[in-house]
Symmetry: C5
Subunit: 352 residues, 5 copies
């Protein structure tokens, strides 16, 4: 998972100062403008400020999707024409936000984390900011990604309810697209847990421990990224922002359901990971004990035998056994008897 962003560089700056905090990116910001109502649909990629500013006043619903939040001047221009508060712009550029929602009267500002898996199966968290106004939605992402594509497709094709509904339904659809992806990510981690569960019993190595540790670390970060969103969506569903009307709230309740479900699952994963660690530790110590036991048993069998050999290696003048014709075979038999009976004893005690 991504590291903490460096916020310290903002220390001492006045509030509302735009500073990009997050992964450095050099791609050009892409702005996609979509305008639609029940009968019309318009899509356009543009950089001209006037165009998307005009969109605010257009009929129908306007959706401006901005991929890239590292260009200060661009964000400033967008903020100016949509009348965004400097603190909102500041937060959009700062990718180290907790999920939250803030109603500014003219619009509501929602920020949450989008989770995706990269090529190496690692979880990447990117920040998504939504501005929902009367008839427009602004969405800000750190970079281009396929996650909103199905929503665009549904609008374009007129499938589903979206063309008939308001801007709040569009905002809902975007939130839903993000939350739906949480399931994708969690399912991958569940496979990892299943895999670990087998490994931890069959062949627990130090690398298994590292994988458990990595898993726990990820769960800590996932929890931090998702947990606060629960309150955001619950506040929206309870109607704390007037921008979502009654009929949309039934859909928000659906997202709320999903979010609670995901948090439940994260808790479960955490409990499972703790359990895995317990098993790992007992497993390693069981294996170590087995080794030590067998080795010690072997050593203990040879102790008395070596002692016997030592006795008959003594140089006393008068040691009658040494003179016996069958002394040597006798002592070999005795040694065998001792060795075997100790083995039998250890086996009976289940130490071997």
């Amino acid at each position: 998972m991504s590291k903490f962003a460096k916020r310290s560089k903002k220390a001492g700056l006045p509030p509302g100062t735009l500073v990009h905090i997050g992964k450095k990116r050099s791609e050009k910001t892409r702005i996609r403008l979509i305008n639609y109502d029940e009968s019309s649909f318009l899509e356009k990629e543009t950089e001209a400020t006037e165009e998307y500013c005009a969109a605010k006043a257009a009929t129908g619903i306007t959706w401006v999707n901005i991929d890239g939040i590292h260009q200060i001047d661009l964000l400033q221009r967008i903020g100016d024409c949509f009348g965004l508060h400097p603190l909102v712009l500041e937060d959009i550029m700062n990718t180290d936000q907790r999920p939250k929602m803030e109603d500014f009267g003219d619009y509501v500002y929602i920020v949450l984390k989008m989770l995706t898996l990269n090529d190496r199966g690692e979880i990447t968290a990117e920040q998504v900011s939504l501005i929902l106004g009367k008839n427009f939605v602004l969405s800000f992402r750190e970079q281009n990604s396929a996650i909103f594509d199905p929503v665009v497709e549904r609008i374009k094709s007129g499938k589903g309810f979206v063309r008939k509904a308001g801007a709040d339904y569009l905002a809902y659809a975007l939130l839903d697209a993000v939350v739906d992806h949480y399931f994708v990510v969690l399912e991958k981690r569940e496979e990892e847990i299943d895999d670990l569960e087998e490994d931890v019993i069959a062949n627990a190595t130090p690398s298994t421990l590292q994988r458990i540790h990595k898993l726990r670390r990820e769960l800590i970060f996932l929890r931090k990224a998702i947990f606060p969103f629960r309150n955001v969506i619950s506040a929206l569903e309870r109607g704390e922002s007037a921008f979502f009307d009654q009929s949309s709230r039934i859909y928000l309740r659906d997202i709320y359901d999903h979010t609670i479900h995901i948090i439940d699952t994260l808790e479960t994963f955490r409990d499972l990971a703790t359990g895995l660690l317990d098993i790992y530790l007992s497993s390693v110590s069981n294996r170590m004990n087995a080794v030590m036991r067998v080795l010690t048993v072997i050593a203990t069998i040879f102790m008395p035998l070596t002692f016997l050999a030592g006795v008959y290696g003594m140089n006393f003048k008068h040691m009658p056994e040494l003179e016996w014709t069958w002394g040597y075979p006798a002592i070999l038999l005795l040694m065998a008897a001792v060795g075997i009976s100790m083995q039998v004893y250890f086996r009976k005690k289940k130490w071997l």
Copy 2:
């Protein structure tokens, strides 16, 4: 317990899209239609949409029980004629729901988990959805099961209160049948805990650890399946849905009681399982220590003896003891003395 269902395949789909999420099943869906009032009783297995749709308008209480939720078109037809919201149909088909209740004005939707034990004594969780309307109840299960049979029997025989009461009482009776089965499942696990408690002290093996781990895992899942139902039933009991009238709520309180009791018991089981793990670990380490101790003591006794033998195995020209007539027996006696006194010492120190 069953694995997590694969929800990821729904990512990006519009809300209300019907996708079956859960264990794949090929049995045909069975629909049982029951209509009754104080004086009449009618039961019928049917597949004709008109029949159960007509039931909605019939006099008396109508109960339609659907066993099988994997046929999209069938569910769509039922949804249409009973006026169910697309999100409700979506949730009925998705077996990965948290227990919840949602009031849609025309009906209330309740979803919970049904727990049964399979042939190998494993706990199986299946999803039960209830739709309670003015004069009808729809119940959806993943497959046929005996759990509702006693309710059918009571209606048929006219025993108890059910024929005189409304649809809400029927819904209560179904919920009660499901919750009653939680006790059956928990009692089986309690026997397992008692059994483990003996094993963990008498003969703790790695397989004991695995059983403890499996138990803890199950408790985590049971908690997830049952805990949220507490809020569902408490909301119904407090009268958050008008579909349960005052006289039924006293019965809901009874279920609430049961649910709290079960959650208490789950907590207790979890604490017991944690205690079992502690005992297991000390037990294993105690046994290991005992082995190591006895073995080390044996080794330590032979150390000085072997040394003595070594001394009289040296080849010095002038070693007066070697010449003595009684040197050999004397040294044997000395060895016995050393060996015995060390044993006595170890026994006194309680190391042996």
Copy 3:
């Protein structure tokens, strides 16, 4: 502590079906009828239904104490004449209840656990059900016990406030008698904890561990038996049931105090038990370490000595030392020097 009762046999039965759930008992149910007011007192043991039914209409306060809840027909008759709801009768017969209070308008139903110590010092939990009506109190216990005797005595002798007060004060006095006994039980466990604390340091054996485990198990069950009663008594004290009038509530506050105090103490015990386990484990491992250390030191001293003996046991033709007159005493001195200096070294390092 007693095991979980077998509730599973009730699965599928209609609500209000009377089934005795609890320890099997064969004693005959004893019914004691007491009627009193400021000037009169009447006590009688009876089985005639009419008698105690009549009591309901009598002047003064009527207290019917029923010892034994396993006779279905008897309980049914009592329920009929005092107008008890079937769910209440069901709960009275089911000893596996969480403490709770339910107001049914005509009476309030209170259920809690009575704790006593049996001959072997084990804690026994029995269920006590109270029905408080306008001018009567019904008390149901699993069997006869001395716990209510002081209350009977106080009524008989006219000592204290009870003869002047209403049925609510009588109910309070019975609850108080039960809660007072919690202190008796906890004090016994406190002595056990003190005892364990000494043992765990002075001589920690596996049986100490078992005692700690038993203690923790008991605390888990005690918590389950007592914790919910806190809410019961707090609801009564806040006046949620009109059956307790203002002047009685000051006494309920006293019980509330006691209950909180007991729960605090249980928490403390739990923390102490956890601490005991920690000490036990370190104690055992300390002792094991001491053993291993001394033994290993002994072994290590004899290693070099045996090696030396081995060197001079070699059969080389040309080993000048062997020819020396003082070779043998010299090597013995060397061995003594090595052995002693290693001992000194170990002692200095505090390993011995």
Copy 4:
């Protein structure tokens, strides 16, 4: 810390029965009567009931401080003349109270714990009961102590605000004196923690463990003694009792601050103690490991050497090395080489 008091002897007694529960004491109860207003001050030690009873009706503020709560008749007389509820008297005599506050209309009853350090540095908890009426304060302590002396001094000398203020300010001053002493006690424990922290790293012995255990035990009891006072003082500050007027509540807020601070500190201490235990355990096991490692290394070096000696101690007829002139020195050199190279290997592996 003091043990639990024996409450069990009260089981079965009617409410309001006076029984002294606490440490047995034989000192005579001392009663100090103080009466003051802005211009006058009167102090007197007395045993005559009439005198302090008259005080209730006197002008100015009356403070009766009772040191000793074990004389039933005396407490009964005080209770009678100040009109105290029997339950209050009962609680005053029972030193096993949780901190609480109860408003009885004519007066408010406050009980809390006073903490002092005895000669051996152990924490002693004594119970302090305050009765605050319109113009009087009664304070009950288990025995005489210096804690209230500064307050007496301030009244006598007219320093500070106390002579101009009401009885509520006096009650505040007494509470403040008690809470101020909590800091004294905690600072001593903090020094102990600092001391332990050094010991645990430098020389962790079993006695260190015992000190950690004693500390944790004390923290458990301190928490139990102080935690509930937080709610007491917060209720008073919020104005739940009319006996404290608006201007005094600002001072109560100051005590509230102190209390929260102390609870924070207790929590911190608990976390530190847990940390100490972790360090202790790793420290002990680190030291043990070091011992075992060095010893095992020594043993392992002598194993091959002894084997070599054994080889050349064999009695085969044809062993050419034995005949060599330089055989003996050669083998000694070989042994030195083997011993030294193993040492080097172990040092490189950091095992030695």
Copy 5:
């Protein structure tokens, strides 16, 4: 982190007694007086009481920053001319405060902790007290520091919103400056955690444990220093003090965000530190096990070999092998075979 301050010396003193509690300092107190409005700006360092007292009545916003709180008479004079309550002055001088806010009608008093890193990278906590009145702000710090400099700079240069806004905005800017520095401190600790994470796996030494312990200790103190500020800022943001008007509260919400974020991060750090400890312990025990295993294996290989040597060192008259010409090489070969096959066996079992 700094130690607890010695509060015990205040025990018994009347409330409002000024005592400096905190690190002893000898620097002279520096007082900086700033007065500004939209068009004017005045800055002055002064010690004359009249000057800053006059400031209270001046037009525009007055900010008096006092660096040094150890001079009782000076604080008393400031308190007198700004009408501060004795309890407030007492708290300002006592650096052992929990963050809190108290509204005294004429002004609101806010206290929080300022965190900085000293030269050795250790976290230092100093107390900052703010008094916000109608048109003035007093800020008290323990000593001079650069943290408020950017705010002074912004006022001087007229940059940002501050010159146009009221005293509440100035107070906000100071709080923001302090909270911004929390991020600086946390980022340093995050680097330490990353560093520890590598060490704990690659080379875990006792000093690693000490660093983990120090980290956990710091996190405990940081939590104590920051956690209560959450409620302070939330109360201000909700408008509990009238001194912050509506438009400023949007900025307080920004600080609230930061604070929650920091607390989240502290929680995360705590979880990570716990994880580090787990890894450390397994890592150490893994390494120890590896050592013990290799050593024991070596010892075990030589046991049977030494025994064999011992057998042929026996002095029996009739030992045919000793006479064989190839006896010696044969036995050497046998020894090699045994040694090698045991090695192979151990390697196959993965013990070597």
